[in-house]
Amino acid sequence: MTEKHADFEALSAYVDGEAPEWADHVEGCAECRATAARLRAVVNAVSRPVAGPSEADRAAAIAAAVESLSADDGAGEIERSSVVPPDRPRLAPERPLSGRPGTSRPWALPAVAAVIIGVLGFSGLVLSSYRSSDDGTTTLAGPGLQSDKAESAVAANAPTAPPMDLGEVPDAATLRARAPTPVVTGARSSALANSGAASDAAAQGSATNTGGAGGSAVQPPTTTLNERAIAPPPVGTRPCEERARMRDPNLREVVFFATARQGLKEAFVLSFATGPTPGPVTLLMLARDDCAELLRTTAP
């Protein structure tokens, strides 16, 4: 038997079968055996079976996850056609739902280049104000720039409806309950739709992705605003939107915007598509002052 006692870390590893070299010592040492016994008691307590959710919750969680795959690969196109009433404008333009848009369109690159040149001049002031008011995240190329174009068009051309206020939202369940079903409405959606692949590129977080009918991105929205149209103020939400995308590159376009509160904290609620819309959306509640993520949940 080794004369030296095993230290606590060695005994912890021994209990886990990761330090068999201490077996002889522990066998013959009452003090180490006692410590090992207490460690085993802890292991037994922590490893007690955990009460799982109900079978229905379990099935729903798995189904939602599996369905998110459908949303990603565009398999839900038929369902989408039947779910969205024809009188509601769509967030995204009619386009192939799988694969990267514009990769087989020879005119895409020149079109996007023209849009960028045109829009940079048009939205220069707005963009510069973003950069001066943020910590630099909105200066990233790609999503931020592309989305800025669409929003600049919105800010300049579309009336802005007052944002919906969800009130006090203490937890994810409340957020899910109060956030309406994502509906593609309003100036911002129209602009995003009009921006074609520009918004797609923004959504997919690809700075180099080109293509699509980008030339229409600078056009005023042609879709009439309906009552629930919400055009988030670009400077107000843009930094938070960008930071959210930096934290999670899977976030695509914003399909719903609202304001909310959590205690004394004022917040934005942004609903991001994670695949072709309609489909599962990620609801984020972000602090207005520093864009900190207060709540996150997923809605079908």
Partner: protein, 181 residues
Amino acid sequence: MQAARTGDKDALDLLLRRHYDRLYALCRRMTGEDADAADACQEALMAIVRGLPGFDGRSAFGTWAYRVTTNACLDELRRRRRRPEPGLPEGSAEVPSPLDHVEASTTRVDIDRALQTLPADYRAAVVLRDVCGLSYDEIAQALNLPAGTVRSRIARGRSALVPQLAPGRNSDPSSGRPTST
């Protein structure tokens, strides 16, 4: 597994069902609360589905899934820190749970409370070992840490748990012991 990676929904469903209980248990022990565990587990499942095509198979699927789930739990805990305390934790009070036969509620609260006293990094190591049954090497892979760090975190975590969960609560197991140099 291969079928799930290529988008076979049935295979994916089966794969998630096979691992769900352990992933949920990990979330439950990490967050200490049913509602947060459900949220974290949901996020983890979505992340697994999204990441599956890119899963390169260098580690076992389970290890990778635990890694994704641990990260989802840590995210959920970060979000929870920013939330105001509503009072008693959800589901901890008088409402009887149909699953109380699995764990007496007092015991459950004790274990949850004790685990919540640990720093999240230590808790993750302890839970991956004791709830998920991973070896130190697997935990090292899952947490992207050296195995020695895993061993140390587990020991430190348990050192904090012993007075709360093990007999002889008045003793400090890690103090005053000779070392094994």
